[in-house]
Symmetry: none
Subunit: 262 residues, 2 copies
């Protein structure tokens, strides 16, 4: 791991907990105490944290608008690997529909510059493609959710009913035996419309989402064509998905980085 990456992860940890002890950081970042000390020294000089005997306090200001690029989402390395795998499913010249969400955003980033017809209801995704001369972009209008920048609601549903795409790439908040779930009720109908608009439906989701439920049921497991997930997914779930006819794609990730999460 690079020094910069480590430092940003360190800061992330300290920010999330407001405090961290040295041994704790040593364990989570897997480097020596000396290195942690030096990193903390830097952060201290920048006034972001304050050293105290036995650990470090976070004193910096919260970052403002949570833009996917700046915030270090949980399971970021998983999403990254999944996105890479999912992007390989897209061919040049394809017409694709991209949902909102941080994982699909990662997919979108990898697709910028490719010759594609892109349809999306996500403002951040649209911003990525807006000035890309290689692709053309159709934005699905509708009510914009302030938190996520995603369009949903009746306008979106109606417009989606009129488009047809080769591949729909969706993310989801939770997966359990009953199927895929989302935590935004307004989005559910919109996501269903997106699935109807796509010839192939690709769901990108990291392993931590499995076994959970969420607010609203979107669809059953077997109704999607591909599921792209990281290699930390249990064998049990791998079996369940393939049993219902889903084409399962596993993105290899190194080490059970789960222990990183406190």
């Amino acid at each position: 791991m690079l020094a910069e990456e480590r430092r940003s992860r360190l800061l992330e940890i300290v920010r999330n907990h407001q405090f961290a002890s040295l041994p704790q950081l040593v364990e989570q970042l897997g480097v020596s105490e000396s290195t942690i000390r030096r990193d903390l020294e830097q952060l201290d000089e920048q006034g972001i944290t304050r050293r105290i005997h036995g650990g470090v306090l976070f004193v910096g200001a919260e970052p403002k608008v949570p833009h996917f690029e700046t915030r270090e989402p949980s399971q970021w390395h998983l999403k990254k690997a999944i996105a890479q795998n999912a992007a390989a499913l897209v061919d040049d010249g394809d017409t694709i529909l991209l949902d909102g969400g941080s994982t699909t955003y990662e997919v979108a980033r990898l697709l910028v510059g490719r010759a594609l017809h892109v349809v999306t209801n996500s403002l951040p995704v649209a911003n990525l493609f807006a000035s890309d001369p290689n692709s053309d972009l159709v934005f699905i209008g509708g009510n914009i959710c302030p938190r996520t920048g995603v369009a949903r609601g009746p306008y979106a549903d109606q417009m989606l009913s009129q488009v047809r795409v080769r591949k729909t790439i969706l993310s989801t908040a939770a997966v359990c035996e009953e199927g895929f779930f989302n935590n935004n009720l307004l989005l559910i109908e919109t996501e269903r419309a997106m699935m109807r608009a796509g010839k192939e439906v690709i769901v990108v989701v990291d392993s931590s989402k499995f076994g959970n439920q969420s607010l609203g049921h979107v669809c059953s497991l077997g109704t999607v064509d591909h599921v792209v997930v990281d290699s930390l997914l249990s064998d049990e779930w791998r079996f369940k998905l393939t049993a219902v006819g889903v084409n399962l794609r596993i993105a290899e990730v190194d080490e059970p980085a789960l222990a990183m999460q406190i």
Copy 2:
């Protein structure tokens, strides 16, 4: 492989991964470390990437969306004054429809934070309001113009036919006796739809646009309710506009400001 090709591939790699280590790049591009270093130096100078110990980070201005703030529009001081005047026409609680264009963008900036229902087909404008908790935002979907980030085309027209707003704020490329003109043919029908959607139509335009023609005719002079323009407008034009029943609003600007334009 040509140097240029190598550099573009390098940038591609770095952009896709957000980060790349030197040995990794050496292997993938098949040139020496020295060469990679020199290439990275160039990218670094251009501000596209950031060198860190052990590799390189991609920082490329992601929102390459035509961000009006960065480019220095001509007649900026005029647009500024006009925007101020036009923003005063908007009341709290209004439902407004905002067109694309640099003048309307200035209006939008002044309206951020107000309690409004905002409808727009402009990506830059939508970005302004997306995270504003005081307003709610409806985006008019459609084909996004790569240069301006504005949605137009049949999807946009159809969606516009279903919305009704209190005030429509439009900009225009040219004004002559025959009426208002625009330089983008696809936008014309969309702008007409926007006018139909609004109870009141407000046109924001600076004095330099008067007397010119442009590609496509949008509507005649008398069909709009308000025209907001800077005080450099000739008396002749002031008369023409008021004669057809337009409510003319003059934004005061300093005369000698013209000389400012180098």
